[in-house]
């Protein structure tokens, strides 16, 4: 006991402190940002990855953006800090799509910064867009844990993202797209990557019913809540045997039951895979927000580089980029050309799998306004 006490770390002896909350954002703001907070006049895109921000005060700040793998070792984070200290007065931020941004006041430092980041971190400069010109870069892919950390994935996250971004790299570093295009990935239908409203998205899908391990169910699961978790009513309690019974015709392999009950794992190496969705949108710009639509119901898991998924995403992106008008996001483009043409141009096949048969969402939703766009 004594020996142990001697070894205690400071973290083991402090008093428990709770509910103090995150740091106040103000202390995290670069002085120029703090000074001009709420008083920015306009911005201009200087080159892919570099946004010049001009304040009413006349102050100018260059925000320089770099792609990140999101999964970072603390050693790389420290390298990032070194660079921020050197170029950015010790301040930086991350974007909502996990890119890193540095703040420069001296335009002459932009090129050296880009050089140094590329050399030290290997992070590309880009991910921005220039709405004035109507020229768009592709940004980072919002994604999830996959095989790195989660227990329900039907596919990996980081590996596909890496493979897709390798293939679409030039779209990140340059402004070659006609409009905003947001790509997202979620490794299961829980959709932590919020792929349900992205221009292009990939979602891990299971295709086999969960394997019920009666023993494990008995040991680890609360049967009523497991049964209740099934959206399609495919599960029934078997009170006698203290387990659950599955109606395989009703199951749509969502894995919801597995989330509630470890006793019914749903993964299946050969049948799990990736569905591809398109035409989601969130901003109110021009066209109201849209849910993503499934255009490929399943592609195989083919690690380490998922060529089928990568090529499908690329094909969609490039078909769109070739045919769309300026500012026409995928949803808007398809709205103009029709879904008939979308399938024709991309060469994807429309099958009965793509006709919605998920009946739980009530039609009332179709009448609710999902945008802040209105007349007064």
């Amino acid at each position: 006991m004594v020996a142990q006490e001697v070894e205690k770390e400071p973290e083991e002896t402090v008093e428990i402190k709770t509910d103090f909350g995150p740091p106040h954002y103000e202390i995290m703001l670069h002085p120029i940002i703090k000074k001009n907070y709420g008083k920015w006049k306009y911005h201009e895109v200087v080159r892919p990855g570099v946004i010049k921000r001009v304040a009413e005060s006349g102050d100018v700040l260059y925000v320089v953006r770099f792609g990140s793998p999101r999964l970072l070792s603390v050693y790389t984070v420290r390298d990032i800090c070194d660079i921020a200290d050197k170029y950015s007065d010790g301040y930086l931020r991350f974007t909502s799509r996990h890119n890193v941004e540095f703040f420069l006041t001296d335009p002459d430092k932009i090129e050296p910064l880009i050089q140094e980041v590329q050399e030290k971190l290997g992070f590309p400069c880009g991910g921005t867009w220039d709405a004035t010109k109507g020229e768009y870069g592709l940004s980072n892919i919002v994604h999830t844990q996959g095989w790195v950390h989660c227990h329900t994935p039907a596919t990996d996250a980081s590996g596909i993202v890496k493979s897709v971004m390798d293939e679409l790299y030039d779209y990140f570093t340059d402004h070659k797209l006609p409009a905003l295009c947001r790509i997202s990935l979620a490794c299961c239908a829980n959709m932590c990557g919020a792929v349900h409203a992205s221009d292009i998205s990939m979602v891990g899908v299971h295709r086999k019913i969960p394997k019920i391990d009666d023993d494990a169910v008995r040991r680890t699961c609360e049967i009523p809540s497991t049964v209740a978790a099934c959206p399609t009513g495919a599960l029934k309690p078997d009170m006698k045997r203290k387990t659950v019974i599955l109606d395989k015709d009703k199951c749509m392999y969502c894995g919801n039951c597995y989330t509630m009950c470890p006793g019914m794992p749903i993964f299946d190496p050969e049948n799990d895979g990736v569905a591809v969705l398109v035409a989601g949108k969130i901003s109110d710009a021009r066209y109201p927000p849209q849910l993503s639509k499934v255009v490929v119901p399943w592609l195989p898991n083919n690690p380490p580089r998922w060529p089928e998924v990568v090529q499908t995403v690329k094909k969609i992106l490039e078909t769109w980029a070739t045919h769309a008008e300026k500012y026409e996001r995928i949803a808007e483009w398809i709205h103009r050309i029709g879904w008939e043409r979308f399938f024709e141009l991309t060469g994807l096949e429309f099958t009965e799998k793509l006709i919605d048969d998920y009946k739980r969402t009530p039609y009332i939703y179709a009448s609710y306004r999902t945008s802040a766009a209105f007349r007064w």
Binding site: T18, P69, H151, Y169, F267, R360, R369, R375
Partner: protein, 414 residues
């Protein structure tokens, strides 16, 4: 670097190739550097975790399946959420990551940092965890990926005293998980963006601070997310990804700087890029003056986006509240819909709190286990919901009125 031995990972190695930065490199780097640091005498509680992850992940790639198991309940003292418990099903083969819990750390509003704060987090996590992170999780937290149950508390303490123990400008607190308020997030808003119609960072911070209890102690039917976007561009995807989306907007006239319009006219085709793309045809341009029929404008932002120097949102600013955004389980994916068309900027935070509290009380009482608030409203009806939040119906809540006459007249049938 290579005096540390790494497991063989032929499949993962493929993902070190190519121009995009590699997460595999990151895992390897953590594996190597953490071991080196330990050898160099640093206190490292969990050496080999990143190496373990490499082994597990390689196997996952080979077998095309995950090797992670359900977490069970792991937590830190005083908190019910913020930790995702995770175990590996290869306990014998890869004991290094048998426990591999994630900690969610509440980021500062807008993801702005001083390097001092980041370094402090790195130092603490190098010591108590795998040395692997996500900047950030898709709810917005700093994700600390992988540690053992017994290190959760010391790491939480390290963060709570990050200022004192690690020289951070401020301590960091745990974020949300489970059936609680999830860590609110905000677009950069007024910090960097000229479009912000309200102070997103402040709003986000205020909600977070006011609802520490709701954030840290899961006690609701399910999760609840708040996101703050400064304008209808919605750069934090609040409409789709939060139960309660606060979208900045304005009511009066778009501010126009005609001189600046003329400047733009020299470099872009205003007719084609702006006038023709306005969804309601509210704009006209005769080569000299840009006119906006603000009665027709639906504040979609397009014209402002294209000509930020020339156009600005109006002066009567505030926000629209959209309710119910979420992923597809159970009743289907929801992009949130309009619950309150407009709250003036100066009333925004108080009004939101009032409404949030009313919603939570109702949801807490009426919500089923794992029923998001949007789904509850579908079940109970907008009618009841509007009473709960004390709002009058407004045509802006719908794309169109109902198509059936099956209207409840409960007041006549009491």
């Amino acid at each position: 670097m290579t005096d540390v031995e790494l497991p063989e990972t032929p499949l993962l190695d493929e993902l070190e190739k190519g121009p995009w930065p590699s997460f595999v490199k990151e895992i390897k780097r953590a594996a190597i550097e953490q071991e080196k640091a330990m050898k160099a005498g640093k206190k490292i509680k969990l050496p080999g975790a990143a190496k373990g992850l490499l082994k597990v992940l390689e196997l996952a790639y080979k077998e095309k399946r995950t090797h992670w198991k359900h977490g069970g309940i792991v937590a830190v003292v005083g908190y019910g959420g913020g930790v995702i418990g995770r175990y590996c099903d290869l306990e014998d083969k890869v004991p290094e990551v048998w426990h591999f819990h994630t900690m969610r750390i509440n980021m500062p509003s807008g993801w702005f940092y001083q390097t001092k704060a980041l370094r402090a987090i790195c130092d603490a996590w190098e010591k108590w965890g795998s040395g692997l992170t996500n900047f950030h999780g898709s709810t917005g937290d700093i994700i600390l990926l992988g540690t053992r149950t017994e290190y959760l508390q010391p790491m939480a303490n390290a963060l709570a005293y990050l200022d004192k123990l690690y020289g951070s400008p401020a301590p960091f607190d745990i974020g949300g998980s489970g059936s609680d308020l999830r860590t609110p997030s905000a677009c950069m808003g007024p910090a960097l963006c000229e479009f912000a119609c309200y102070d997103t960072l402040k709003a986000c911070y205020e909600f977070t601070m006011r609802y520490q209890n709701e954030l840290h102690r899961p006690m609701w039917p399910y999760k609840f997310k708040i996101k703050c976007s400064g304008c209808p561009n919605d750069c934090v995807a609040a409409k789709a990804r939060s139960d309660f989306a606060i979208i900045g907007t304005w009511k009066d006239e778009i501010q126009i700087d005609q001189e600046a319009v003329k400047e733009y006219a020299k470099v872009i085709d205003i007719e084609k890029q702006v006038v023709k793309k306005c969804p309601t045809g509210a704009i006209s341009w005769d080569g000299k003056e840009l006119k906006i029929d603000n009665r027709e404008c639906i504040r979609c932002m397009h014209c402002i986006n294209v000509m930020p120097k020339a156009l600005k949102p109006g002066k009567e600013r505030g926000a629209t509240i959209l309710i119910g955004g979420k992923a597809p389980f159970v009743d289907g994916a929801i992009i949130g819909w309009v619950a309150i068309p407009f709250i003036p900027e100066n009333e925004l935070i108080e009004k939101c709190c009032e409404v949030l509290e009313a919603i939570w009380e109702w949801w807490d009482e009426e919500g089923k286990f794992r029923e998001r608030v949007g789904e509850l409203i579908w079940r109970k009806g907008m009618d009841e919901f509007l009473k709960v939040i004390n709002q009058k119906a407004d045509v802006r809540m719908v794309y169109a009125p109902r198509n059936n006459p099956f209207i409840f007249w409960r007041e006549l049938n009491q």
